[in-house]
């Protein structure tokens, strides 16, 4: 490892931690392959997004302070979810509009925080990955990654270098999948219709696998596809880019 290797703090995020450890390990591999020293600070929990989006700004601020402290030692912070990265980059500064000292601290954190693919492409200058992945894959970019991080097209540049991967495009990539955090359980019938539209769009593309950098969207899309009896499986983008397919994809139940 060269002496200039950046020390990266990996923010695994709640859903990857709880649901999909494999995506976390795939991300570690990708970062190490890109020349980073990866550390996973043990004090990390949640970025505070549920509080931010549900109006509990006080708790969101408390957690933001914890995130600032937890990731202070790292040159870069890499987040395994577009919406969590968006929370740190876009919304932490808003949360501390009246607190100049914290605003400086969260801005400093925001300036070195990246979503995984964004980091690999924009900071590490990655243009290709060495991985193989068979199958027809559609990519779903979360609304946060698209609109808060401006990531349109970035993931595709890497996906297209995975050998054996047949990438298909969606007709309506800019449409929300209907996850929206607690929105999907507070307004399930509206969310259902949005998710149905997304599943149909993905299904119409001919994809067998949908890859996304946001596990919330992915659980929503795959869960809806299962209910609709659409044979669609899901993987975190990190797994596909790392060619890491040790665990079965999301949506592959034991009876399959």
């Amino acid at each position: 490892m060269p002496a200039t290797a950046p020390r990266v703090g990996l923010f695994v995020t709640c859903l990857v931690d709880l649901y999909r450890p494999q995506a976390g390990f795939a991300a570690v591999k990708l970062l190490e392959d890109a020349g980073c020293i990866v550390e996973v600070p043990a004090a990390q929990t949640c970025c505070g997004q549920p509080g931010l989006n549900s109006g509990d700004a006080a708790t969101a601020r408390d957690l933001a302070r914890r995130v600032v402290a937890t990731f202070r030692p790292y040159e870069h912070v890499v987040v395994l979810s577009g919406s969590c990265a968006g929370t740190i980059r876009r919304h932490y500064p808003e949360l501390f509009a009246d607190d100049p000292e914290m605003r400086r601290a969260v801005r400093a954190l925001a300036a070195r925080t990246y979503e995984l693919v964004e980091y690999l492409v924009d900071v590490r200058g990655l243009t290709a990955v060495e991985a193989a992945f068979g199958g027809r894959v559609a990519h779903h970019l979360s609304c946060s990654a698209l609109r808060e991080l401006g990531m349109a097209g970035k993931t595709e540049t890497l996906l297209d270098t995975v050998s054996g991967l047949d990438r298909v495009s969606l007709a309506h990539p800019e449409e929300c999948c209907g996850f929206g955090g607690t929105f999907c359980v507070k307004y399930p019938d509206i969310s259902e219709r949005m998710a149905t539209g997304k599943v149909q769009d993905i299904h119409d593309s001919g994809a067998e696998i949908v890859a996304s950098g946001d596990l919330g969207c992915l659980l929503n899309i795959i869960g809806r596809a299962q209910r609709m009896d659409v044979p669609l499986k899901g993987r975190h983008v990190a797994e596909v880019l790392a060619g890491d397919v040790a665990s079965p994809p999301l949506g592959e139940d034991e009876e399959d």
């Binding site: 649901y19 043990a42 949640c46 929105f183 359980v185 795959i222 869960g223």
Partner: protein, 472 residues
């Protein structure tokens, strides 16, 4: 209109089961969205124009008193009258007084969201004055006694046969054998009836897209020319509008007009853009004898200086409605008040109270598309979050949600407890998802399982695996 926003969930559910409405809403995507995108592609500097439009509005709102007084002085200098109204009741009364002084029996109306906001039509009717809407969409919903379901396309929830039915029910002397199947036939029928009404009206009431401080002009845009007939033919012209519509100069108005038409319908310019300033002068070929501007506050000035100030930049183009996945599924009526879609979800709690309308800012996935298309760059998602914060602070947020957040906040502040809880959850969910149907029995999971299965998790947490030394 009396708000039914507290019934949002119920209204939305009904709307989603309404096949006719759903068919009508499909038009949004193929129509407005595509046309806006094409219009943008034809104007490479569109984004710079949006910045300029935002800056015009920001500057005006920062000096709103100044520009309103300048506007008033110009209107008076030209022989017009300005009526300042604090609330809906004052605005209704001001219009009624003008109508009474003019001895009016019928008034024609151009499309005006502010007139809907103050419930002008039922008030005039109760006072013996017949209002006649002249915008085709507004006319149709007036016949059906419905509120508008969209800011620029008030009857977008209807289909041709709904319109034909409304005409057959209301138009006296409409022969039964007369075909009303083609749009053209509907248009001709409406035109024939409305022509008489235009000529009979004593007072014409329009809204305003902009008021211009430097010359006292009010500006309306229409694609039917109905606004012009409404304001030119009667003896009296009343402009009823909100105080936030003023802009400093003609130049500023044209900047906003350029983004308005493109954002709304995808046109480069609206078919009819009409400037009117004061009553008819001696050498004018036509125009009204009296010119009144009724300026409505109704809570707008209270938004200045607060977190919702930027919502006053809104120029009512409806791009946020047209691109909103929530609006596209539930339509405008579900929102339960005059303004719908993302801008309605921001304005309605301000106008009718957060307790009444708390569902509106919550019923959003915060996808951000509204802000992305807004011609004056209103940060709509930030404002939806702001309402949620106010609701949480005022304990309007349901107790169950507040408890859930408290538990999550407690755990997230204690990494060891959090680790243990997530490990337990990962294990439990893995077991539950293995047995089909087990999850449905958990009470908190209902919102998820109503529409979705829950894919199986791996069963262990990343953090624990990492701590144990697993690296792949």
């Amino acid at each position: 209109m009396a708000a039914t926003s507290h019934l949002f969930k119920e209204n939305a559910r009904r709307a989603m089961l309404d096949e006719r409405l759903q068919g009508a809403l499909d038009k949004l995507k193929a129509g407005f969205r595509v046309k806006r995108r094409e219009a943008m592609a034809r104007l490479p500097e569109f984004d710079a124009l949006r910045d300029a439009a935002r800056d015009v509005k920001d500057h005006t709102l920062a000096h709103l008193d100044l520009y309103l007084e300048a506007f008033e002085a110009q209107v008076r200098a030209q022989g017009g009258h300005v009526h300042w109204c604090r609330d809906a009741a004052e605005a209704r009364q001001a219009v009624l007084d003008i109508c009474r002084r003019a001895g009016a029996r019928t008034v024609t109306k151009g499309k005006s969201m502010v007139a809907e906001e103050v419930e002008l039509n039922p008030f005039l009717e109760r006072n013996g004055i017949e209002p006649v809407e002249t915008d085709l969409g507004e006319y149709i919903i007036q016949l059906r006694r419905e509120p508008p379901s969209h800011i620029i396309a008030p009857a977008i929830h209807l289909r041709k046969d709904d319109v034909a039915q409304a005409f057959r029910r209301s138009h006296e002397g409409l022969a039964e054998e007369r075909s009303l199947e083609q749009p053209r036939e509907l248009l001709d029928e409406a035109r024939a009836v409305l022509r008489e009404r235009f000529l009979a009206a004593d007072v014409g009431i329009t809204g305003a897209n902009f008021l211009i401080a430097e010359n006292g002009a009010s500006v309306i845009v229409t694609n039917e020319g109905n606004g012009d007939l409404t304001q030119i033919l009667p003896r009296v012209h009343v402009v009823l509008t909100g105080i936030e519509k003023v802009v400093p100069t003609m130049e500023d108005a044209t900047t906003l007009l350029r983004v308005l038409a493109r954002s709304a319908t995808g046109q480069e310019f609206t078919s009819y853009v009409t400037f009117s300033a004061g009553p008819r002068r001696a050498d004018d070929p036509d125009g009204p004898e009296e010119f009144h501007v009724v300026l409505l506050d109704n809570g707008r000035s209270a938004l200045l200086g607060g977190p919702f100030r930027d919502a006053l930049r809104c120029i009512r183009c409806a791009a946020c409605l047209n691109h909103c996945p929530i609006y596209a599924n539930v339509g405008g009526h579900a929102y339960g008040w005059v303004y719908s879609g993302p801008i309605g979800a921001v304005l309605t709690p301000a106008f009718v109270g957060l307790e009444e309308a708390v569902d509106l800012p919550n019923a959003s996935s915060l996808c951000g598309r509204c802000e992305e298309v807004c011609p004056v760059r209103i940060p709509l998602p930030r404002m939806l979050r702001e309402w949620r914060t106010l609701a949480f602070g005022r304990r309007i947020t349901p107790a169950r949600e507040r408890w859930g957040l408290a538990l999550w906040g407690w755990l997230a502040a204690r990494p060891r407890a959090y680790r243990a809880a997530s490990a337990l959850a990962a294990w439990g969910l893995a077991r539950l998802t293995r047995r089909k149907g087990a999850l449905e029995r958990l009470p908190f999971a209902k919102g998820w399982t109503a529409a979705r299965d829950l894919p199986a998790p791996e069963g262990r947490t990343f953090m624990n695996e990492w701590r144990r030394g697993r690296r792949r």
